[in-house]
Amino acid sequence: MIKRILSRLLVLAVVLFGVTLLTFFYTSLSTVDAAQALAVRRFTRPTAEQVTQVRHELGLDQPLAKQYVAWLSKAVSGEFGNSYNTGKPIINELSASLQPTLKLASMALLFTALLSIPLGVWSASGKGGIADKSIYLFGIVCMSVPNYWIGFMLMLAFAVNIPLFSIMGADDLKDFILPALAVAIPTSAANIRVFRSSLLDGYNSDFVMYARARGISEIKIAGMVSRYALPPLVTLLGQSFGFTIAGSAMIEFVFSIPGIGSMLVTALGSRDTVTINACVLVIAVIFVAVNFLAEVINAVLDPKKHTKERVYDT
């Protein structure tokens, strides 16, 4: 297993390198010229000379490959340079805004697990019954609305009509309950489906029949089946953590949380390319790291299955 994890780590290094290339490539694709945008902010009506000067100052007149190498060699050590917008070091703003978003994503992850696991079990154990059908229908409804709208609805219900929570702020953990629920509800809707079908798959497999024939208690069998059924759910939960951070801007807008999503949207609006690159890279690294963690957990849960997770062509 350790060998397996080490070889995955090697792949991970390749993937991360690819991510830096993609990040840099994506932001440089835009037709909006960052130098032009900054020059406009500085001089209102910049002359061609001033734009050239700004371009030179930002190093944007270098060939793209050179820019990439310069950017990468600094980014590796966590040095993202100064924001075009504010002139301040990006790393400060980044670490400040990452905090609330990480809180939001962690709480959302917790809620997602708390919703998906019991509801998945309930749905699978009462297969075809009223509970199963209602959970199915509820799932379709939740999958069909954007999470920020769920956020608004929760806000209307539990902050306006029944004033249990405040409508904005990110000071204590209580402020994150509604936003995290808004993220967790649609995510769980998809997870419940997957967990339910892998549970059913487990109950229908030969090892359960054999265990029953040997007279092993149903509780022990349930334990065996959930161990069998958990890996796909763990993968999804890991992915959803990264998705939450990437899509956090919407929820942050709704609940006025000063997180990395809002920071990224502001940077996108003013074409602050260094900030965009930094945000995208950080989010991508978190995403990759959490997915890897999920893989490790799965390897521990089910070492055998892990060796052939992909259908390779033979």
């Binding site: 954007p146 608004f152 904005m168 079908s197 006025s256």
Partner: protein
């Protein structure tokens, strides 16, 4: 196939909802009582009346008309987007998976790299790509989503190509092109329909999220997500203005989800 769909109530309801959305999209000018973008400051937050069936918003624009035109805006971006995703993912995944060997391995590695970025992140980064804002949204969502769909298509193709009938085709001298186009794609077609029908609902939600963040569309466009921009200010005074656009998104997206999921049950009865 069609017979099976018509016998499943969930599929029929989903189909009916889809058709309703298409009808509203096509005949929006006929349904809408007013011009959705006409600003009338004198009529700010008007109560529902005969002229304004659902009242007006903070700029005095007719809400009912904006919701109706919203279907047109959303769908006219969502349909080309899902078409682009479908073409790219089917083409790449089918060819790579069918050829197999080193090409397929390379495909897996490249898609691993692309999948290391969450789709919404990619879409946001790419949004200012072209002069045309609608085109930018189509391209950026397609660029973000193709790889996730291609992965799924790839597993379908690999499952299909090892079936005996394909081997028989190869032995009887069918060209590879013919096997892919005449045999593999038609046989995985129902699965693809499921994938892209549920995918379309995801795209609709993604477009509304874009609009909500104020990225992408022109300001003032009658789009469901755009109608929620700055809605925080309305929670106490006009909560109904927040509820309506969400219900429209729900109706449109749920139609495609209901239909897609029903189709999935028909395709793989085993899963249930």
């Amino acid at each position: 196939m069609i017979h099976k769909i018509l016998r499943k109530p969930q599929a029929v309801i989903g189909l009916a909802m889809m058709l309703t959305v298409f009808a509203v999209m096509v005949f929006a000018p006929a349904f809408a009582p007013n011009d959705p973008e006409k600003i009338n400051i004198m009529q700010k937050f008007a109560e529902p009346s005969e002229q304004y069936p659902l009242g007006t918003d903070d700029m005095g624009r007719c809400i009912a008309s904006r919701l109706i035109y919203g279907a047109r805006v959303s769908m006219s971006i969502a349909l080309p987007t899902i078409a682009a995703i479908a073409v790219i993912s089917v083409l790449l995944a089918t060819v790579c998976a069918y050829i197999g060997g080193i090409v397929d391995r390379l495909f897996v590695i490249v898609s691993d790299i692309f999948m290391a970025l969450p789709p919404f992140l990619v879409a946001m980064t790419l949004v200012g790509l072209f002069e045309s804002k609608a085109l930018s949204i189509v391209i950026s969502i397609a660029a973000a989503m193709w790889v996730w769909n291609a992965q799924v298509v790839r597993t379908y193709v690999i499952r299909e190509k090892n079936k005996p009938y394909i081997i028989t085709c190869q032995m009887s001298g069918c060209s590879q092109m013919r096997i892919i186009i005449r045999h593999i794609i038609p046989n995985i077609f129902p699965h693809l329909l499921v994938l892209y029908s549920t995918g379309l609902s995801g795209v609709i939600i993604m477009i509304s999220s874009y609009a909500f963040l104020g990225l992408g569309l022109e300001t003032g466009t009658a789009e469901w997500g755009a109608m929620l921009v700055g809605a925080n200010k309305l929670v106490f005074s006009h909560p109904e203005l927040i509820v309506y656009p969400g219900l429209c998104i729900l109706f449109a997206a749920a139609g495609f989800n209901l239909f897609g999921e029903a189709l999935r049950d028909i395709c793989d009865p085993k899963e249930n």
